[in-house]
Subunit: 148 residues, 2 copies
Amino acid sequence: MAKIIRARNFRWDVPLKEYKTEGTGFRDITRQTLLGDGDDEQRLNFLTRYFEVQPGGYSSLERHEHPHAVVILRGEGEVILGDRVESVSVHDCVFISSHSLHQFHATGSEPLGFLCVVDRERDRPQLPAEDELARLNQDETLRKRLRT
Amino acid sequence: MAKIIRARNFRWDVPLKEYKTEGTGFRDITRQTLLGDGDDEQRLNFLTRYFEVQPGGYSSLERHEHPHAVVILRGEGEVILGDRVESVSVHDCVFISSHSLHQFHATGSEPLGFLCVVDRERDRPQLPAEDELARLNQDETLRKRLRT
């Protein structure tokens, strides 16, 4: 059934979840699935999630086959995107193509919050291999920014 | 290739398009497809569009099989959702289930802007039949709000 999921200061009437229950290399990040998790929302072939990273926090450095469509809703951040680092702020969009390594960092004084839409059916994230990390660490900008 | 699509006061570096080129019953509304239209974005199975309705404007009163996932980004509005009218404001989400009649109205002094995510492959919108419109018009709240 059609419905409104109301927002109140970046909290919606859905469960507030930990970012992940396994894996390493992330800090101070929460997840709310805004649209797609409800029993009556299974016809949606994609999930609209909201992630919030506290200042100084970051998501996992990972890649996967499925692409991400990201829209920043609050704060300031830097994104590792393949072999470069880009700054982002409110309403910027990020297209994370298949197999692009990525990591979000909250670099401002307020949390970095963003929508991230993905296919309901998707592959699992993969961490970068040791030799790839070594290669990335040769770039000073990347080395200073990435966290594992 | 992974990339940033930067925002500047609700304009992104994508084409600003008219809402529709055919049909009737909409006013003062534009569309930007933020993610999914680019040549390198075809792997996205869904499109992330941004619609902006000027004060007093509205979208088409329509329904379709494919559901909508909507997130309000600016302004105040009212949404016809099936047989009721709901108010919405910034960051509220709207789940428009299959075949639910819907119409967005900008009711505040600033534009109503919202993200609307849909399947790339989807059915065409359908307008309500005359007898359905007659039935809706029996409800005073709906009659005052809906535009055809």
